[in-house]
């Protein structure tokens, strides 16, 4: 869990991310430091899960915080890549693909 201030601890996403995580939402609301999500134990992500991550990143940004995703398994990273959602790709540290797929 992330602390309200000081050093940031990663939050682990366990199993299927098929809906929003209330505790993470609360964390964003309470925290002033950057949020790190650890996806190493994430096995599936749904459309709702993607949308929640997007919203999370937008909310964090509005508070001047950053969201960072770590240890993303390839299958989940591929979902992010295909989704073409800019703030999610930024959280992955990948270049933005806002202009859509290009050769």
């Amino acid at each position: 869990m992330a602390k309200a201030k000081g050093k940031t601890e990663p939050v682990r996403i366990l199993g299927s991310l098929d809906k929003g995580k209330d505790d993470v939402d609360r964390l964003v609301a309470a925290s002033e430091s950057d949020i790190i999500l650890d996806f190493s134990a994430c096995t599936f992500i749904s459309v709702d899960g993607i949308e929640w991550l997007e919203e999370l990143a937008i909310r964090a940004e509005s508070k001047g915080m950053k969201v960072r995703f770590e240890n993303i398994p390839p299958a989940i990273y591929k979902v992010f890549k295909i989704s073409h959602i800019d703030c999610i790709l930024k959280a992955c540290g990948a270049p933005s693909t806002a202009i859509g797929p290009v050769c």
Partner: protein, 873 residues
């Protein structure tokens, strides 16, 4: 319709963006689904479609006022049940195809977001079909329905989507454009939306064209104009019934349905009578005019869209015809040149043109007239009990599906009458402006990731079957079964007494003819003369007695004797892939070839190579094939005792070059390595001794063996760049082959031992190891201490290569063999002028194909230049 990207309608943009975003996320999520999860979803969708097949058909008919409700029910079943049965066991996730013989697998990758158009003629079945196909292939699909059928299309989409969601499908993977006046604009917007990956366009010509003009990948359909040829061998009753079933199916809205019949005269009367008996109406010429007037739109020359899917009675009523109630089809004889007949076009209603013909040729030609009047690539049909006629028809007609003895409309859908892929989307190939002529289905909705593993190379080792070795082995000639022998030799062999030695050992009951007209490096003309001689005499065995030229010539003479039509120029075509040659040699030779070498150099007695000079074109042609191998080789050193010292040395260096080049060849293997190494050892040991005591048969024997072993090595691993250089030099300055080889040897070893500027692209040569192979030779020859623990150390390898170079230079020096071009008496200026031409020759030389270093033209030039001055090693 042309796709516009300039719409300023923000509401349209917003709706399009929302639909596409939803589909994009669903497509992303779908990539995580397993085959089992996908199949569960597909099954649930199919069940839902079947449960609602009748309701959706009714809705579609009510909304469009086209077709026949009962037939639309069948279409919905085709799109669900039939389709499901075809695809339920198909793999669409992960590895979908394993091709062990090609060492390759295919893995599926979804297309992504698909924009699918649904036509007014099949508004629900198309949606069911495309939804299931997209689910099976893990794609998202956004439906753009026809405005006149939007309610029924969208209802179908909603039903299968909800079933899919219940089975675990990603949210939003099916969506649809709601019915509104802006439906078309929204569709246009999505056609060019960057997040749409593919347009799956089934519909009218304009919509398909719009899809293609969007710049997106598109699966479209072409327009149809199905010709059906009824051959005189056809069964009248079933033909008539099949055509009626097909043309009345959904009142003719199916685009593969019959449009014009081409009927053999012999069967016309009974067939038309049968049509009439079964409830069709056959028009008079005057009535055809009336029908044409309402069926064809005079402005476009195409069908009147107002009558699409209407009943025959409705069309008759519009045309002012008095036809019986429940008439099934209105049949219109098309008189005159049908290429100009107004009715010879697509008519998606129960109106059928027909023409009578007098032969198969005329029948196929008239069918082609229909086919090429707006229906290329789509569908055709033939009724014939004569398979040959059906095949001739199919060969001539340009259509993606050519139905034999069955209805073209329901037949074209696939699954009901045949094993065609079930579809509601008919690819028409380039004839219809499409990328595929398939019955479009799941295989067209996946990207195929081919994963080829590196080719597994299997080596084979080929050499002469019977090799008799040791001084005196010529006696084995006595035991070779032959009735008529053709002895091919040289005048020199005659003078040296070799011919007599051979003749003494040929069985007494064998008829013998002798041809001694083969000189050094024979050309086509010399070969032709020898072939004429053997043809005149006849023979079951050729005995080749002489050096490499005679042995090579014998291989070619046998080829032309056994196969007079063999084209030497074609057979000598260059090649890159040793294992998959373009040119095929005869598999088996009929005449036995006994090779008796009288020099210790080429090893031709055990190689599949033969070289012939093309004097007119100033080049040499190489023939390579295992069929060229002699059946018998006799390695008798008694025949080399009188070989002049100079030739002994030249040929020995030829053999040494063979051993060295085969050792580092990209095709070298454990089998050839052993031969090459032992050959080198024997040459280093025996050559100095032979030159000291030329008539010592023991050392001659060792040298003779060395040449034969090296021959077996090159026969399977080939040679390298040194031979290419030597061929060019030899051809230009008339230098004996062995000597030409020796002058480049030090340069090419040093060249191949350096890290290549470019590596060779050969699957079976994964690691460049030429330097280590030379080092291995140095160790084998005892030139350096063999300390295995350090043998691969770069400095140790270099020292070993240097030792090998020095040993070769010492051997040459001690035996008097030239090691540089200048020692050959070639003028420097003349040599420099010749270099470009010689470089051109080396580039084309087959020898370089197996060199361990990819030889570049500037490197050839450098090798020629540095090989001129005397060696300082």
């Amino acid at each position: 319709m042309v796709v516009s990207v300039k719409s300023n309608d923000s509401a349209v943009d917003e709706r399009a963006n929302n639909l596409v975003r939803q589909a994009r996320l669903a497509a992303a999520v779908f990539t995580q689904y397993s085959q089992e999860e996908v199949d569960k979803i597909v099954k649930a969708m199919t069940v839902a479609a079947i449960e609602n097949a009748a309701m959706l058909a009714l809705l579609a008919h009510e909304e469009t006022r086209m077709g026949v409700t009962e037939d639309k029910i069948l279409k919905n079943y085709v799109a669900s049940e039939f389709f499901y049965n075809q695809i339920k066991h198909k793999k669409t996730v992960g590895i979908i195809n394993e091709i062990p013989e090609a060492n390759m697998v295919e893995i599926s990758e979804p297309m992504g977001v698909i924009l699918a158009l649904a036509p007014v003629t099949n508004p629900t079945s198309t949606v069911i079909f495309k939804s299931i196909a997209c689910a099976k292939t893990r794609n998202s699909v956004i439906f753009s329905p026809h405005l006149m059928a939007a309610n029924s299309s969208n209802m179908a989409a909603k039903i299968v989507y909800e079933a899919a969601l219940s089975a675990g499908a990603p949210k939003g993977f099916i969506s649809w454009v709601e019915k509104s006046p802006r439906l078309r604009k929204e569709t246009e917007r999505m056609m060019v939306h960057p997040e749409v990956d593919l347009i799956f366009a089934t519909g009218g010509t304009q919509m398909v064209k719009a899809a293609y003009s969007s710049g997106k990948p598109a699966l479209g359909v072409g327009s149809g104009n199905t010709p059906v040829y009824v051959h005189k061998s056809a069964k009248v009753s079933s033909t008539a019934m099949d055509i009626i079933i097909s043309k009345t199916f959904d009142n003719g809205t199916e685009c593969p349905s019959e449009q014009s019949l081409v009927i053999d005269r012999e069967i016309a009367e009974p067939l038309l009578s049968e049509f009439k008996r079964l409830g069709c109406y056959i028009c008079s010429d005057e009535e055809v005019e009336k029908v044409t007037a309402v069926v064809i739109d005079p402005r476009t020359g195409g069908m009147n869209y107002r009558l699409v899917g209407q009943s025959a009675n409705k069309v008759a009523e519009e045309a002012g015809l008095d036809v019986p109630e429940k008439t099934k089809i209105i049949l219109c004889p098309m008189k005159g040149d049908i290429r100009h007949h107004k009715l010879a076009v697509e008519k998606l209603m129960p109106v059928l043109g027909y023409v009578i013909v007098d032969s198969v040729n005329e029948g196929i030609n008239r069918a082609l007239d229909i086919n090429y009047a707006g229906g290329t690539g789509h569908t055709a049909g033939v009724f014939s009990e004569d398979d040959d006629v059906a095949e001739r028809f199919a060969e001539a007609i340009n259509a993606g599906r050519i139905l034999v003895n069955s209805p073209t409309s329901i037949g074209g859908l696939g699954g009901v009458y045949n094993n065609l892929n079930t579809t509601l989307s008919f690819g028409c190939g380039t004839g219809g402006g499409n990328i595929t002529s398939d019955n479009v289905g799941i295989k067209n909705l996946m990207n195929y990731k081919r994963v080829p593993r590196r080719k597994n190379f299997t080596y084979s080792f080929q050499t002469t079957k019977n090799i008799y070795v040791n001084p005196g082995s010529l006696d084995h000639l006595k035991g070779i079964e032959m009735k008529s022998a053709f002895v091919l030799t040289t005048t020199s062999a005659e003078k040296r007494g070799h011919l007599e030695m051979v003749l003494d050992r040929i069985p007494s009951d064998c008829r013998v003819s002798i041809y001694s007209g083969i000189g050094a490096e024979p050309d086509f003309e010399a070969i032709e003369k020898a072939v004429a001689a053997i043809n005149a005499k006849g023979a079951d065995t050729i005995i080749a007695l002489g050096g490499g030229s005679v042995l090579d010539a014998a291989k070619i003479i046998r080829l032309l004797y056994d196969y007079p039509d063999a084209d030497l120029k074609e057979l000598s075509l260059n090649f890159f892939d040793f294992q998959d040659r373009m040119i095929e040699f005869p598999k088996h030779m009929k005449t036995k070839l006994v090779a008796i070498p009288t020099t210790s150099g080429t090893g031709s007695e055990v190689t599949p190579f033969a070289v012939v000079k093309d004097s007119k074109r100033h080049r040499k042609l190489s023939l390579v094939d295992e069929s060229m191998l002699p059946e018998v080789a006799i390695i008798d050193a008694n025949l080399t005792k009188t070989l002049p010292v100079e030739i002994t040395r030249d040929t020995a260096f030829d053999a040494l070059t063979h051993a060295i080049e085969s050792l580092v060849s990209t095709f070298a293997n454990d089998y050839t390595d052993g031969l090459a190494l032992e050959s080198m050892r024997l040459i280093f040991e025996a050559l100095p001794e032979v030159l000291k005591d030329p008539e010592n048969v023991v050392w001659r024997h060792k040298l003779h063996n060395a040449a034969c072993l090296a021959g077996m090595a090159i026969g399977n691993a080939s040679v390298g760049v040194n031979h290419a250089l030597a061929h060019a030099l030899g051809a230009r300055f008339n230098i004996p082959h062995g000597r030409a080889n020796s002058v480049f040897l030090l340069s090419t070893i040093a060249y191949n031992a350096r890290i290549p500027s470019k590596f060779v692209a050969v699957s079976n040569y994964p690691v460049w190891i030429a330097d280590k192979k030379y080092a291995r030779a140095a160790r084998f020859l005892g030139l350096i201490d063999s300390v295995d623990s350090k043998k691969d150390d770069p400095e140790a390898v270099k020292a070993a290569v240097d030792a090998l170079l020095k040993a070769i230079a010492d051997l040459a020096r001690s035996t008097g063999q030239p090691m540089s071009v200048s020692e050959l008496g070639v003028d420097l200026e003349e040599y420099k002028r010749a270099v470009p031409m010689m470089v051109a020759g080396t580039v084309e030389d087959m020898s370089i194909k197996t060199n361990p270093r990819y030889a570049m033209m500037d490197e050839f030039t450098q090798l020629f230049i540095e090989s001129y001055p005397p060696r300082e090693i």
